[in-house]
Symmetry: D2
Subunit: 89 residues, 4 copies
Amino acid sequence: MDKVKEQILKRLSIVEGHLKKIRKMVENEEYCPDVIHQSQAVQAALRKIDEIVLHGHLHSCVLHDIHETKSQKEKLVEEIVDLFRKSER
Amino acid sequence: MDKVKEQILKRLSIVEGHLKKIRKMVENEEYCPDVIHQSQAVQAALRKIDEIVLHGHLHSCVLHDIHETKSQKEKLVEEIVDLFRKSER
Amino acid sequence: MDKVKEQILKRLSIVEGHLKKIRKMVENEEYCPDVIHQSQAVQAALRKIDEIVLHGHLHSCVLHDIHETKSQKEKLVEEIVDLFRKSER
Amino acid sequence: MDKVKEQILKRLSIVEGHLKKIRKMVENEEYCPDVIHQSQAVQAALRKIDEIVLHGHLHSCVLHDIHETKSQKEKLVEEIVDLFRKSER
């Protein structure tokens, strides 16, 4: 788990670096489509982080059966569908 | 479950109807942005269907514990993360 | 232009075929993640159609300067940003 | 234009703040779905920035007719379609 955490924090550092670059591009009034491409790359990097976080979450939830009661299981299902729904926008 | 199936089939009929409308719009050379809006509405309707299908799937998998072995559970986790990844594009 | 129209109608036929397949999969109660994958493929095919329609639209609008007045040009800009916004969901 | 630039930089500051919050959430091992929700909010904020940047770009390109030759106009069209395509993922 600590290894996954480390990996996520490393990816977050990269995202932070790219975001600083976007700020500089906007300040320097660089070519607009280039700014948007850079922003789209950051969004893709965040989605990749989401995937890693989701994977870790499901891995512990499903494999270790931490949802024991029916209502806990229902909560897990709603949660996954909710993340799926929001990931689509 | 049959009720969910019925609901999905009904939504698919609506999508089919909208798709026919898009065909007619293209044939009649209607205003392009209107065609795209119609197509985006169809995509949103399909994503809603995906949500319903996913909900039904998880409901039976997680609540009824049909994944018993470790490798079955791992397969379920990979499957959900894969759907999540693809939903983002 | 007629060639583009023909290409779009051909792609719509393929989408219609895939949609029929989804219906059959739901009726036969096929494996849920497979249904969602099929639906995601249809959505990707529709987005490709959107791109082709948008390209044709912009090509005629921008290259042939059909927006002459300032308010027509402003309308074009709003329209493109609106399509961009909706494409993101 | 400076006003738009200011608005974008302000929004970028908010995004940077939210990103720091995500880092803290990961470090503190907060509940995974909450981390993903926060990340999805950052992605939505970046998409809003993209829209503002695109609007500013098109406004200057289309209204001020800075694309004069046919090949410049074609480049603009390709550029918009490319941004649209990437925005969909």
